[in-house]
């Protein structure tokens, strides 16, 4: 064994100097030496192709080094080497074997300096090697590079590489990329059409990016019918919505078919430049304050040859009616554009359906946020009939609790787990205190409760501002809530929103459980229906009212933590939700948790739906939503689910 190794290394040692001169790759380079030395983008093609198609194992390394300007040529015999700088000279490395073959001074060798055009050509040639590289990561990188910056030349090596691909994921990616490149660069219309049709209903952005240029149009104008060689998309009537008369006239001017019309401001400038003795073209300057007078003056100037003539309205109208305006495709084959249009229509339909699904998810998540914000209110306002304007500030307190906990507990998951019960406890206590100190004395005076709680609201808000400052504080969600659940390119929902949705469902369950299955819930329902009767049954209404109010406030605090996770925590956090929360409860129907759920769903969907009509303007969406709610209350003053009979209270 040892003898064998020794023999092999000996063979290598004596073989090296020989291969340095006579390796096939060196011979190939020498054959194309003149082209390489010429180093011109126009003529270098055959040399690069020869290297690429040689099938030699060293070809890829040579091309890469050449592209990276690391290929050197010895002046004495024209041989090519890789070189490394060593002190004052260079160490030469054989291009085929990578072996050390001596050294040279800087004067003896010359660096090949391919310009950017040649480097790009080499890059295209290299794609073939990268696509068949043994390393899947490099193959993937090559595919990424092609997808980013596709060229016609990539098509052939890509096709060739599919057959030998072993990785199934890469195979499908290559096949998709091949179809995309076929659409853009294949010469055969049938192949292109087949590829186009294969993308019908595809949601990928890349498919649309490949198809859209095919149906891009430019506008043109001719005197008669459009030439038969052109692929006409449609004819345009001047003065219609798509082609205004001014635009049509601009097209005519561009085509040199009519004289341009001088714009009003140019006329004004021309007139100002030709004022003589207080007159322009015989019209006194003082009279030039109407367009008619200016036109007369300009016509006079034009007649005198002082300014270029402007086309009159009649001429323009004549020209517009005597010419044909049309849109033409840049793509000349009508079958291709037809197929592309059909494919894009199918995609648009699918995209629309997916957008609707995405919108539904968005609306659901918005609804769950409103529900979370409103569920505490559904208890204090819906069940007890107490208007608590400070409800929003309880939400804010919950969010700030989360923020403070994160200052002490650096682990985000743990801090959220601590913050949720802590926020509940703090806002529960605040709610109980408020009920004891203020609200208890104002039962039966709802308007004054509203005002008193509003006083508390502004005090709390300012207090938060004094303590935490006006800038937004971050409440960071745990790492496992980052990112989003991506269904496809269009439908996705962030994990935080899913978490909020789940939290809303949990609270719905909790509320139902407390109200229907616990002693507390029973007593709450008894007290809200008839406090005196409940009191005579041994229930302490004061205590129950206090606990109910605390519960509603506590839930607001927990909602605050959840809302703070995706919105910035500011002292105005609660204020942003208070009106919507009241809307949710009122629209849903006071005193019924299912009503609140329906109300939140209605408002969430409504807002997202309106935003969809006018995506750039969420303010308008809110405005119209509130208007809709005001109208809605006209028709169902007691909300979606109205209490009937005695429970309704009147």
């Amino acid at each position: 064994m040892r003898i064998l190794v020794a023999a092999l290394s000996f063979i290598c040692l004596i073989a090296l100097p020989v291969s340095a001169q006579d390796s096939p790759i060196q011979q190939l380079l020498q054959e194309n030496r003149t082209l390489i030395e010429q180093s011109s983008r126009r003529t270098i093609g055959p040399a690069i192709d020869a290297l690429r198609d040689s099938g030699l194992p060293a070809a890829q390394a040579v091309l890469e080094k050449w592209q990276a300007r690391e290929l050197w040529q010895r002046k004495s015999d024209g041989l090519f080497f890789f070189a490394e700088r060593t002190g004052d000279g260079y160490r030469l490395i054989d291009i085929a074997t990578g072996a050390d073959v001596g050294s040279a001074t800087g004067g003896e060798i010359e660096q090949l300096k391919p310009n950017s055009g040649i480097r790009a050509l080499i890059g295209v040639a290299l794609v073939q090697f990268q696509l068949t590289d043994p390393d899947p990561a490099r193959r993937m990188a090559a595919l990424d590079a092609i997808a980013r910056n596709a060229e016609a030349a990539h098509l052939a090596p890509l096709r060739a590489s599919i057959a030998t691909e072993t990785d199934p994921a890469l195979t499908s990616r290559k096949a998709r990329l091949e179809r995309l490149l076929t659409i853009s660069y294949d010469d055969e219309p049938d192949a292109r059409i087949a590829a186009i049709e294969s993308f019908a209903g595809d949601l990928g952005v890349d498919a649309r990016a490949a198809l859209n240029p095919l149906v891009a149009t430019t506008r043109a104008v001719t005197a008669g019918d459009p030439p038969a060689t052109e692929n006409v998309a449609r004819r345009l009537a001047p003065g219609s919505d798509v082609l205004s008369e001014a635009a049509a006239h601009a097209l005519l001017v561009e085509a040199g078919l009519v004289a341009p019309r001088i714009s009003a401001s140019d006329i004004r400038a021309a007139l100002a430049a030709h004022v003589e003795n207080g007159q322009v073209g015989g019209v006194p300057v003082a009279e030039l304050d109407t367009d008619a007078a200016r036109e007369r003056a300009y016509a006079a100037l034009a007649a005198a040859g002082l300014v270029p003539a402007t086309a009159t309205s009649a001429e323009v109208a004549e020209a517009l009616s005597s010419h044909v305006f049309y849109e033409r495709y840049a793509e000349t084959d009508p079958r291709v554009t037809e197929a592309a249009n059909a494919a894009l229509d199918a995609i648009a339909l699918k995209v629309g359906m997916n957008q609707a699904a995405d919108l539904t998810l968005d609306a659901l998540s918005l609804a769950s946020i409103y529900f979370l914000a409103a569920i505490g209110l559904a208890i204090t306002f819906g069940v007890m009939g107490v208007i608590n304007m400070a409800h929003g500030e309880f939400i804010m307190m919950g969010a700030y609790t989360g923020y403070v906990v994160q200052q002490f507990v650096p682990d985000y998951t743990l801090s959220i787990l601590i913050a949720l019960p802590l926020a509940f406890a703090i806002t529960f206590a605040a709610g109980v205190a408020m009920e004891r100190l203020v609200i208890r004395w104002l039962y039966n005076r709802p308007l004054e409760t509203l005002l008193a709680t509003f006083g508390i609201s502004i005090a709390l808000q300012q207090l938060a501002k004094n303590i935490f400052g006006t800038q937004a504080r971050p409440l960071t969600s745990p790492g496992w809530l980052d990112g989003s659940l991506v269904v496809n390119d269009i439908v996705s929902i962030s994990y935080i929103r899913i978490a909020i949705f789940v939290l809303a469902l949990i609270f719905l369950g909790l509320f139902l459980f407390i109200m229907r299955r616990t002693r507390l819930g029973l007593e709450v329902r008894a007290v809200t229906q008839n406090p005196r009767m409940a009191a005579s049954m041994g229930i302490n209404p004061d205590r129950i009212n206090m606990l109910t109010f605390g519960l509603g406030s506590g839930i607001a605090g927990v909602a605050g933590v959840a809302i703070g996770l995706y919105a910035k925590v500011t002292s105005e956090l609660g204020q942003d939700y208070i009106v919507q929360s009241f809307m949710t409860v009122v629209v849903g129907g006071v005193g019924n948790i299912w009503g609140t759920l329906l109300g939140a769903t209605l408002i969430g969907f409504l807002q997202k739906g309106i935003e969809w009509f006018n995506p750039s303007n969420t303010l308008a969406a809110q405005t119209y939503m509130i208007l809709f709610i005001i109208l809605f209350i006209q028709f169902r003053p007691r909300g979606i689910i109205a209490l009937r009979g005695r429970a309704a209270g009147d």
């Binding site: 502004i458 300012q462 004094n466 009106v579």
Partner: protein
Amino acid sequence: MRQSFIAKNPSVLIFLALLGLFTLAVTILGEGLGIGLISTSFVKTLGKTLCLCLVAIAMDLVWGYAGILSLGHFAFFGLGGYMIGMWLMYARTELIVVESLAQAEIPPTPDEIRDAIGTQIFGVVGGSDFPLVWAFAHSLPLQLALVVLVPGLLALVFGWLAFRSRVTGVYLSILTQAMTLALALYLFQNDSGLRGNNGLSGLQNIPGAGDVPQSLMSIRFFWASAAALAIGYVVAAFVVSGKFGSVIRGIRDDEARVRFLGYSVEGYKLFVFTLTAVIAGIAGALYYPQAGIINPAEIAPIASIYLAVWVAIGGRGRLYGAVIGAGFVSLLSTWFTGGQAPDLNVGFYTVKWVDWWQVLLGLSFVLVTLFAPKGIGGLFDLLTGRRGPDRHGADLGPGAGSFREKEAEQ
């Protein structure tokens, strides 16, 4: 026995006399015509305060007398300001534009003038065309009519919808708050045609009065505000003193009973709601030329709630209470938030009133609601010896939600 209007409302004469004295004092002490003891900016503040007192009277009419806690009256106030602001801005920009275009060699056409004004006004929101709402902005009389018509019509439509479907109590409050929020959000948009959150500015420069110094202009506006307040007070006193006043007080205390007596409750409420909206609009039209700028933040729901706060602190259900509340609280607010109040050092912490005034206001508001539902105006009852009966905790008024102390008054 028929009493005269004055005999039934002795407070009117006292109020008018005090207001007259106050106006005279400010005129003499002010900078424009008097000895200059009061700065121009403070005269403006006083003038603005009078406008706030006027809108507080409107609020008192609708809440203290008719029992409708409207959280939307500052929206009407703001709308009035916007209406007058449109004319002020248009007319002033027109003057500037005409002057600058007159320098050009060629006289401008009417279209060019209009385009230039549009570019000046709407350049800030990236537009130059006049939106439809500016159709009457060139005419002062039309725009003055809109000051009354726009808030009035909005109140009429909204009130008709709300009262017709018998939305009452806190529901109505929330609904009016929603209306205010919707309006504010709408105006915040750039394409609402009213310059989005930039609002209308430069309103203190009255077109055609460029040579009148601000010191004189502020006194004139102060007079106008005082006159409007005087008229508003008399009108409000007139409205609440006769049979009409009795009916709306009845509606406040027990709506159903008044309805069963055959009165058209909705009609009465709608009238009061619309009338007060108009008064609020006029107050706004006087306020904003003195403030100089109006933007949608002014009509956010919070402003309307503050209005209710003023009236509650002053004492609702009595007109002078509203005036006292608005004047007292808003001037105190200006003093505290303006940084003029000295810091309070309590040893371990220095209380900066700019930061803590809101906390104080909120808490004092709670205290007033709890312990002094009659507000500051209740002090006058102590003076005149009017006192509620002591029933030792027995039930007082007709309905649980009504304003029972008033009902039981002897």
